[in-house]
Point group: C2
Chain length 318, copies 2
DNA sequence: CTGAAAGCGCTAACAT
DNA sequence: ATGTTAGCGCTTTCAG
């Protein structure tokens, strides 16, 4: 019986047909739980992330589901706040969910401790956009440094010299990488790092608003361009700048990062960097499935980013 | 052993402590699969929807997860396109996933056939915003008719008489309900239905753009206000109207529906109706959990909507 | 109150 | 090539 339904070889066609007919007749549904007990498989893969923006989450999920569409694997969503602060709890949480594998989005994808513990319990993983150890797990990489350098260079090329940066969540390695990219461009154009205003943020719209408010409250000449480490903060910054009477991009150029939905809906449309989140999720899931099938760890896949110059940037006035 | 870990009565404290200590020491993780085999539970509930907007999905998921946070239940995401066209496949899909129960978002929450089949296989369900049969399953209700009437009344109160409606996906009962609400308001203010331009849409940004383009291409006087059945389409309409040189709200008032993220990020901010999707998902999940615990079907919960008058509406010119 | 044993529905190994 | 049997790790009897 089991042999037929699992399409094993060495079964006579006649028998195969007969069993299939009866199964169909009885609307037989194999009990996946019982099967799981013996095969040691739950046929579930987890997707974990830590409160990112809606459009990022949705793309991530779409990518995983797209790859899973023709598989028997299901996707379980496991948001977990503060991975960094509670790594043991996080791994226990994953273990308790009885997953066959897990796709880790930032910042968990960069936590060496998490990877170590996952290795220890033998749970394979896919990693989205890690900045370090690209050989571990099935990785989808993005060159955040180069991407950030390109946006910064775009601004410098327009002639901006008084710059402000709004950082992302410090527990995300991407934040550091993007800062590095900006710094490389600044150095190449002779802009001293200590002349650049740097404000913290945490990737949320509200933190972008707060950072912009602090930037405007400073004494001294106002910056002519703001580099936000993601679109949500960039939009927050634009909102506050506008309320302060500044025209975008004439009085202030703003760039974001992510090419999220709002970056296209806001007026003026935001200059940003496209991150192919959907493809990255798909690739990482594909690699995870290979790992699950017992294949050797697939090579990390570097995904292309793209600088999208839209309407929120222009040459500084005067 | 099992008796201790499941906190059963009639166990001596001494034994209880000892077992717990050893379990902790060994980092014992009960095998949820084996447990499921005997208890006939997979401890998974599904959440199904059909390509809605990102912010709606995210709120929906957040609501379910919030209620599940302290439960052992996990959430499996089961998007399924064209439920209406393939009901048998849809139910087979749910059955194969071995779920204990399922939360149905529109349009599945309104498909009587789906409910019938789910009843037949004994899978309990929660329903988000159904328009019919509120007694079946654990329902979170919203008065779409009243909500739509209120937005329409707001526009009529401002003095608008030349109106255009952009419909949502026709397979969603909410679309019909919202049209009814608009119609009630129109009738109350003496606006003839055949003077209202009605364009189809499917709840996507792109369909809102297309509908607005068709509205502007018509001969005869331009409408002074557009009622879009959700925010994404409203934003699409605004984008196209702006490209055609119209100022919002001076030349054209636009209202949406949902209070999605973009409705607050777009300039001018969108007048819309808040639907408490998070609460609705939470309540439906709570009801489903009750059903799963063998309790009788909980009473449907009516959730309050709220008209949010923001900056995309004003009195018509002249 | 606690230990031992019998399955839950399936697959894998073992016979035939 | 096909029928048969022993568990997978747990809960639920049933003894003690």
């Amino acid at each position: 019986m089991s042999r037929v339904l699992n399409d094993e070889p060495f079964v006579k066609d006649a028998l195969r047909e007969k069993v299939k007919a009866v199964a169909k007749d009885l609307k037989y549904q194999p009990n996946i739980t019982a099967k799981g007990l013996i095969t040691r498989r739950s046929y579930m893969i987890g997707l974990t992330y830590e409160r990112p923006s809606p459009s990022y989450v949705v793309e991530l999920q779409r990518g995983v589901l797209e790859r899973l569409a023709d598989e028997r694997f299901r996707m379980v969503i496991l948001p977990f706040s503060d991975v960094t602060a509670r790594i043991d709890d996080f791994v226990a949480f994953l273990r308790a969910a009885a997953l066959d594998g897990v796709v880790l989005a930032p910042p968990a994808s960069d936590q060496t401790d998490v990877l170590d513990q996952l290795d220890a319990v033998g749970m394979p993983y896919g990693r989205i956009a890690p900045q370090s150890e690209p050989a571990r797990g099935a990785c989808s990489l993005l060159d955040d440094i180069a991407a950030a350098r390109e946006v910064a260079e775009h601004l410098l090329g327009l002639g901006h010299r008084r710059l402000a940066v709004i950082l992302g969540d410090a527990t995300h390695a991407a934040s550091t990488a993007r800062s590095q990219g900006y710094a490389q461009a600044f150095a190449a154009h002779g802009v001293a790092m200590d002349s650049v205003i740097v404000e913290p943020g945490d990737f949320t719209f509200a933190s972008g608003e707060a950072a912009m408010a602090r930037i405007l409250a400073r004494s001294g000449p106002r910056p002519t361009a703001v580099l936000a480490q993601n679109d949500d903060m960039a939009v927050g910054a634009i909102t506050v700048a506008r309320e302060a009477g500044l025209a975008i991009p004439d009085d202030l150029s703003v760039v974001g990062f992510d090419d999220s939905d709002i970056s296209r809906l806001i007026m003026p449309k935001l200059t940003t960097v496209r991150q192919p989140v959907f493809d990255m999720a798909l690739t990482a899931t594909d690699g995870l499935l290979k790992l699950l099938a017992g294949e050797p760890a697939p090579a990390p896949v570097l995904h292309a980013h793209e600088l999208l110059i839209r309407q929120s940037t222009a040459a500084p006035r005067g």
